[in-house]
Symmetry: C2
Subunit: 763 residues, 2 copies
């Protein structure tokens, strides 16, 4: 069965628009929570969406204060993002010039004309700009939604767990559906428009479209790194002076860095992550499209078959809409113990629902058999063909889909404080911070085992069945439930911020307990989200790598690990994640020190600050975080952006192939272990604080020596889990997509031998 | 110019024996320091080798006490090693049966007979046993020398820096020359004896000899892991109760774990490291020999040419003897500031001297031109030939030699407290342990950049000039100055122990200051030694990997990173160092907790312990460290030993090739950063304690908050730098040599396709 052409033309934009509408509908429901004092009690009375009379006392001021704080956070976040966008604007201009000029000057090969190269240069540049703008918009919208939702979640927490959870979850879903619908629609329209200029040249079209992925991921890199440094500089700075020196609670309004800390959650964890996952989605689609363009689908102009990657994503949106109703209407979390379960069920249900849908899409959209080009071994004939059946593609999508779920579940096991690993780490705090840290590091290392095996198996299956197309579709499968993944991922920082606002607005201890419980689940879902992001990034990068190898005309022989250039590249590439992490961690350290000095200064010079009679200068701290994070994001950004260009042009395409593979295999491990170590430390601390079990109570609770040790572990984990770790997957995929875009240029430099070796050969 | 055959026959054993004699001569000079009270003043009066009258007061008891403590340490170390050897004996029996049976049952290929396979099985097994026994003996001798030297160093420290330095350095050199002379002699004799049974079959001979490397490295693995867990369990346990809870100084004799801690230095840092470097030497020689056997040197029976790797090592011994005289007689360290410089000069001078020697050996031993087999790209003709000039081999040796020096120097920069990186880490202690740890981790990551680039360049040059033979000879070049490297490496733990003995014997504060200064330099040289060990292990592993690929009949096409099996293996392999580190770190944590409980028990139940009137039960702590480290070393050991066999047999030779390469590129980074992070934290602590500069004094010195933060960092670093980090390079090379030995068996399993895939193919 093969669908008529009209189906993808209607279904893909239709599903995207439906996703966007669904996001707006959810938003409307969140917006019903009013942030004007006294209004929130006039809810519709289902569940317990009202306040008892005694709870209403003083509520007007509390709500007004929450609204006020939300305003400050939103303003700080916007100001950071707009300043960041000025930097990114400059970057985009430079990069556009670079892309256009390097690609347009390429000497055309046989069968291509000067005009072909020029067209590739122009449209790659346009695609880059489009991708970058979409990514910026995604991040910005995510931030807006999150800052809109956080005070509302805090206000709802006064009524109980259920309404607060609902508010945070729905807001997360708004972001998830908006981003995935918008991203897909944008990509579809771009392809339709570009098609007018490329005619039947599908290969050229999709190669140019790859610029879209490059734009998306390079913005994501700066977003993650800049936002990551911002959030952790503020967090570490606030903790070191506030919690450690002044002994005031977390998120205490007397702490001058507290607004900056909350702003950080929105710009790092929300905007950065939104841009990151959008990038993964764009890149895996591009990688799949590039490969399918040179398959028999492309040569026989099978439009429906070629849109298979987009159809999977479109179907995913519908599946996620169905899944969301379960959490929001059918079975929402009503008590603390249900939160994590409800979020986990979202992942499981969306995966289960997506599986038959993927099968249907594969058999409906693809011809029963088609052929793919795979790298060949004969220097005379660089490509072999491989026959692929349509159900193979279902298998690869399903492998990615279920692989992602398994990675998510094992991440939950390693980072949730309901399981043994985190409890062991908490237990190690008995003998002080050193053992806490040793056990936490060991936990992170250990947590890399299963995801790596899952990825290795997915890659093996995908590659065996359908070469790099199989890997790209496995990545799309993993991202098939993107909207749900994003929703539960965004849920975390929203809850975290809600807790901060509850504390700052002076809400009661019991409310803070509720937001803490929401937040603890959020730490776990954040780690799950990072697991997804890393897993999909690994698959995406490999698919892009495969496309790069093809475009750079590297055959099997020249990509052997025994080749001197490839192996040297492999070793060099494996080092890059370490270099990058060293930079970002040091940046967090430096920015945090600047913050510490400012916070200390304010405590020392502003009279009445400790007593709560004077207001701290929040704005100054926001400014420090903004300026230092923007200055510090440039060197690591430059490392990632320049490495492929330098290696590719000067040391050749083979060395670059090695570098990409090395960065991929080493970066994945480091990213997984950093994210999980950090998540585990944070939740070990929360485990001791919450004291929900006998074992936890035995550790002494807040203020005990165990707790102090756990706070140190948490602080160490901050840059690991929120700056270095989640940036690493962008490093890996960005280098791959950049190499793919510039492949014709690299090949043009001394036939891919590299300028250095060409020069050495002439000496 | 090509030397007559008699030259290697005389020169190789001659140089080995000379090295051994030199070691005995140095030992005799160390032995002149008498450990009987009152005797040590009757020295020969050159320098200031006498004590002032007031210094002699109470010296008889002090010296007697030092002798007593040394006895206890030596006894503890011997008892640990003998218990460990019982485990290793069982392991060797199992492994011998495995090697013999798996290799003997191989179905002979065309051109080989059943007898050939049987002979390979028998002699591989014999070589394995020989290598294992040599490694055991090396470790044991090293430990004996070190325990003999440590009390003598402490006693000499009463006279000043110069005599103490001399004693520690000479003892280190005893170990260096004994091990390198003995190892080379042993290998040479084995080859000569095996030759009687193999006749003209050089290839068969050297393939069987590879078992020697397997034996050496598998013992080294258990030595490093078992010893590493031992030393750090004792150290962490002693510190956590003694320094943190009871607030008594390090190495205080009241601490029950203090003898175990000092025993640990000898079994982990000395015996483990001796076995490790012996393994690297044996393996790189084996790798070079295997490759040269199938070169034109082998086929034309050019005996002199084939002994080139051994000639380089023999010449290296002579160069190191000359270098040692500089530190012991020409320009010994006389004041604290000179210690590090003198040790560093040893490395530089030996490298400079070795360079022309290597050139001479290359042009004298090798024919002007010869040909090597390199993996081919044509499935019909798996090998291509490559023409190599003799001076190429000088270049590859020199690249390794100088690469090793550069790695050493950069390691010094990152771990010595005389430079900015460690001072920055110390400075980060101002804001508490969390920033100390963040900065330390970042330092470790950063310190991987230069070594990786050096290794990548060495590999590129070696491989481009002479394939895997070039890489093996680069490794030999790096190990060309092995005796000197080992000497300065062993110097560290000897000084560390001397400090412990000085404290326990109740020597004065000034003496402790001298031993601390010796020890601080020792921390740096230990990190340098680990840098060497890692760098050479990387090259050795790659050379072994190359030999494995050849023996497993994998050509360029089937080792492409684009191959599904290879890439999945690459990813899986890159994860192994993390898995292994998680195991070893957790083991240290668990063993340390057991130690903490015992130490606490003794403090609580032995009356008068804190007051110094009762003696703690040192023996019990030694027993706990012994039993828990031996139990804990088995799982990580099994992981390393079983992985190649399982992957090779079940998933095929290509997947194993990927696994080896992945483990190599990822393990190197992790090992370098762990070793340097740990070294930096230790020296940041020592920097604050010593307070030698204005900046250091500003941090507050011993007992300040900064110092407390630094102690926490140091404790975290212990398992990183002394257990997990230095074991990783053994993991990498052991997996490679094991794969090489078992390659015929793997190929025999379903023609190298792997039993799992064979089975899947039949379904």
């Amino acid at each position: 069965m093969v669908l008529p052409e009209a189906v993808p033309i209607l279904f893909i934009p239709g599903a995207s628009v439906l996703g966007i509408f669904f996001a707006f509908w959810l938003w409307k429901r969140v917006a019903q929570i009013q942030l004007v004092g006294g209004q929130s009690v006039v809810a519709r009375g289902n569940g317990r969406e009202y306040l008892l009379e005694e709870e209403q006392r003083g509520e007007e001021e509390v709500v007004a204060k929450a609204a006020d704080i939300q305003g400050a956070i939103s303003e700080g976040a916007s100001s950071f993002l707009f300043t960041e966008y000025r930097y990114l604007g400059i970057f985009m201009v430079i990069m556009s010039v670079l892309i256009f000029s390097l690609l347009s000057i390429v000497t055309p090969e046989e069968g291509r004309t000067k005009e072909d190269e020029l067209r590739n240069g122009i449209f790659s540049t346009i695609a880059f700009v489009l991708g970058a703008l979409t990514s910026i918009l995604s991040g910005y919208l995510g931030m807006k939604i999150a800052t809109y939702a956080n005070a509302r979640t805090a206000v709802e927490a006064r009524k109980g767990i259920a309404p607060a959870f609902m508010c945070a979850f729905r807001s997360g879903a708004v972001m998830g559906f908006l981003l995935s619908g918008f991203g897909l629609l944008n990509l579809f329209v771009s392809i339709a428009v570009f098609k007018q200029f490329f005619g039947d040249d599908w290969k050229g079209l999709f190669e140019a479209i790859t610029g879209y992925g490059l734009g998306g991921s390079s913005i994501a890199l700066f977003g993650r790194v800049g936002g990551g440094i911002y959030t952790k500089a503020a967090d570490v700075g606030a903790d070191l002076v506030g919690k450690v020196e002044k002994d005031i609670p977390e998120d205490d309004p007397r702490n001058p860095a507290v607004i900056a800390d909350n702003v950080g959650d929105n710009v790092g964890d929300i905007a950065g992550m939104g841009a990151d996952l959008f990038g993964s989605f764009a890149e895996s689609t591009c990688a799949a499209l590039v490969v399918s363009a040179v398959s028999s689908l492309g040569t026989s102009h099978d439009f429906v078959g070629m849109t298979f990657p987009l159809l999977i994503s479109a179907a995913g949106i519908l599946v996620c809409i169905a899944t969301t109703f379960i959490a929001t209407d059918l079975k929402p979390a009503k008590v603390i113990a249900e939160i994590e379960h409800t979020l986990k069920m979202q992942l499981i249900i969306s995966t289960v629902l997506m599986t038959p849908v993927a099968y249907f899409v594969a058999v409906a959209a693809l011809p029963e058999e088609f052929t793919l080009q795979v790298p060949g071994s004969d220097p005379e004939k660089p490509f072999d063909t491989k026959v692929v059946k349509n159900w193979y593609m279902f298998v690869t999508v399903a492998v990615g889909l279920w692989g992602g779920l398994l990675i998510g579940l094992q991440t939950e096991y390693f980072t949730s404080n309901r399981y043994k690993p985190v409890q062991d780490v908490a237990d190690a705090c008995r003998t002080g911070p050193a053992t806490d840290i040793i056990f936490g590091l060991a936990l992170g290392y250990k947590s890399a085992i299963i995801p790596t095996i899952i990825m290795a198996v997915s890659i093996y299956i995908g590659n065996s069945l359908a070469g790099m197309y199989g890997i790209a579709t496995a990545a799309l499968g993993m991202l098939g439930t993107l909207a749900t993944g994003l929703a539960i991922d965004a849920y975390g920082p929203i809850s975290d911020n809600a807790g901060g606002i509850a504390e700052m607005a002076g809400m009661g201890e019991d409310i803070r307990e509720r937001t803490d419980a929401l937040d603890a689940a959020g730490n776990t879902t954040a780690a799950i989200g990072k697991g997804f992001a890393i897993g999909s990034a690994a698959l995406v990068s490999l698919a892009l790598f495969g496309a790069y190898v093809t475009r750079a005309k590297i055959d099997l022989i020249h990509s052997s690990i025994l080749d001197p250039k490839v192996f040297a590249g492999l070793l060099f590439g494996a080092m890059l994640p370490y270099w990058f992490s060293a930079m970002t961690m040091k940046s967090v350290g430096k920015a945090a020190l600047a913050m510490v000095q400012e916070v200390r200064r304010q405590f020392n010079t502003i009279n009445g600050l400790m007593e709560g009679t004077a207001r701290p200068d929040y704005k100054k701290c926001v400014e420090i975080s903004t300026s230092s994070s923007l200055a510090e994001m440039i060197p690591p950004g430059a490392l990632v952006m320049l490495t492929p260009v330098v290696v590719g042009a000067f040391f050749g395409t083979q060395a670059l192939a090695g570098t990409l593979a090395g960065a991929l295999v080493s970066g994945v491990q480091l990213a997984v272990s950093m994210s999980n170590t950090g998540g585990a430390w944070d939740n070990a601390k929360k485990y001791i604080e919450a004291g929900n079990t006998d074992h936890a109570r035995e550790l002494g609770g807040k203020g005990s020596d165990c707790h102090k040790a756990a706070v140190i572990g948490d602080t160490v984990g901050d840059p690991l889990k929120d700056t270095s770790g989640p940036s690493l997957n962008i490093l890996v995929k960005l280098m791959a997509v950049e190499s793919l875009v510039f492949a014709p240029f690299f090949y043009n430099c001394a036939q891919g031998q590299g300028l250095v070796f060409q020069w050495l050969g002439q000496v």
